[in-house]
């Protein structure tokens, strides 16, 4: 009976430790009223590359400067905020064959862990393992990222209205649109299958 009691105590401690270790990370909110946070995309096409960006970004990333490997979080991009400079092209991009923004309002990046971390000052380079959900299709992705932890820099960004830390996230990778069911029938000599994505995001963690 004592052994069972000890075992339960051990489990209790393990759970408590797991909870406390996950609570060590700083939670950064990536909703950016300044409109700086951008996900840029580019696809090769015969006349010129189709390039645009999305600004409807939200999400939360938990980051611990002492334990960057435990970085996790989720970034959501509102598909309706995707913009390209040609209005007809934008209409096609939002339509059913391409992004179908009416049905799939968001695309998400979910980070589960960070590996191969190399720290240099406040900069952490590594590879994020996670999942990307686009047009209802979820695929595992490994993305090289650069995280910059800016301690006590939130005040500089809000003219002193708020104090806290900033986390800058930069990533560049490519996905195949056909794998996510984005107009898989479109000829690749007209629009490339590969979509280059660039994430330039900053999250804030106000001090309470």
């Amino acid at each position: 009976m004592k052994i069972v009691k000890n075992a339960w105590q051990s489990v209790g401690w393990a759970v408590l430790l797991a909870v406390s270790s996950s609570a060590d990370g700083i939670k950064f909110d990536f909703k950016d009223p300044k409109g700086v946070n951008t996900v840029s995309f580019s696809m090769d096409a015969p006349l010129e590359a189709i390039s645009g960006s999305a600004h409807g970004i939200s999400g939360e990333v938990e980051f611990d400067p002492a334990k960057p490997e435990a970085t996790k979080g989720k970034i959501t991009v509102a598909t309706a905020s995707m913009h390209v400079p040609n209005p007809t092209m934008k209409e096609h991009m939002h339509a059913k064959d391409w992004m179908d923004v009416a049905t799939y309002a968001d695309l998400t990046f979910e980070a589960e862990s960070l590996s191969d971390v190399q720290k240099s000052g406040d900069v952490y380079n590594g590879k994020v393992q996670g999942k990307m959900t686009l047009k209802g299709v979820t695929k595992p992705v490994t993305v090289p990222v650069k995280l910059t932890y800016l301690k006590d820099k939130l005040g500089a960004r809000t003219n002193g209205r708020m104090q806290g830390d900033l986390l800058v996230l930069r990533a560049q990778f490519s996905v195949k649109r056909s794998e996510f069911g984005i107009n898989p029938g479109a000829p690749t000599d007209k629009v490339s299958d590969e979509v280059e994505l660039t994430l330039s995001l900053a999250g804030s963690a106000p001090k309470r």
């Binding site: 951008t38 040609n86 820099k153 960004r157 800058v168 330039s200």
Partner: protein, 97 residues
């Protein structure tokens, strides 16, 4: 009695076609000349001073592209082709002289 010749619809249409082609080409030339698709907004790259993130701000601006030029030249071609269906010069007889 004197007979005078006036330019008819054919000439007017041809002049119109020339005007359309010229206006299209000049507008395209002075708008860039942009060799891509027509844009109604342009990306302005900015840098956030605190995070040093490079980001894009879209500003409304009409930049005619090759589709605009092609459309103007195509329309001019249609007007020019239509001119073949129109009457050539009109001969008018002045009975007073």
């Amino acid at each position: 009695m004197e007979t005078i010749t006036r330019p008819g619809m054919r000439t007017a249409l041809r002049l119109g076609a020339l005007g359309l082609a010229l206006v299209g080409a000049v507008f395209w030339l002075f708008g860039g000349p942009h060799l891509g698709w027509t844009k109604t907004s342009v990306a302005v790259t900015k840098i956030d001073p605190v995070t040093e993130l490079e980001y894009v701000e879209w500003q409304k601006n009409f930049v005619p592209g090759v589709d605009f030029l092609g459309g103007a030249l195509g329309l001019a071609g249609v007007v020019f082709a239509t001119s073949w269906l129109a009457k050539a010069n009109v001969k008018q007889t002045n009975l007073n002289s």
